[in-house]
Symmetry: C2
Amino acid sequence: MPRFDSFGLITAVAIDRASGRLLMLAHMNAEAIARTRETGLAHFWSRSRQALWMKGETSGHVLRVMEIRVDCDQDALELVVEAAGPACHTLAQSCFYRRIAPDGSLEPVEND
Amino acid sequence: MPRFDSFGLITAVAIDRASGRLLMLAHMNAEAIARTRETGLAHFWSRSRQALWMKGETSGHVLRVMEIRVDCDQDALELVVEAAGPACHTLAQSCFYRRIAPDGSLEPVEND
């Protein structure tokens, strides 16, 4: 059903159900979607490692997937999740913890 | 500063500042980022049309960009926006207006 790209992947973002905060962006293949739907825990495809991975498989910071939403042209997914801990490997709540300042440098997001 | 892919693109998602709702996912090149920062209005790169476009240039449903956030590995952007109208070309508030039902079909998201 999803429209995968030429690598068999679709972009997926995880949104925290309680806060609405964007937590992370990653990629899924058909197997990652199937495993996510089977287990209720977010699985992704690592393009750098060329391997399926479960978010939190080492850290324990899993993402429980309450809903999988699909966009209008079916080439992106939104995972509505409950996070068992920080979503980012830096231990920030969200991977998007910095913003572009007016001078072009990066500065911390205020609510982090 | 952003890490563009081999096509010179970076994935960007737009989040509604007031509701926290994920509105849309698209792609930006360096020029789209520059024009967005200059004008305060979201610009993207259309991969199908191979052209720069301003969101809302024909519909008037522009996205005012209040903040541009960058993720940990600098290969994705989060635009925190105020939307002047529906974000989706279908006139849904968000492009992510359907979800995968338990049987694998698509059903409307409840809060739409």
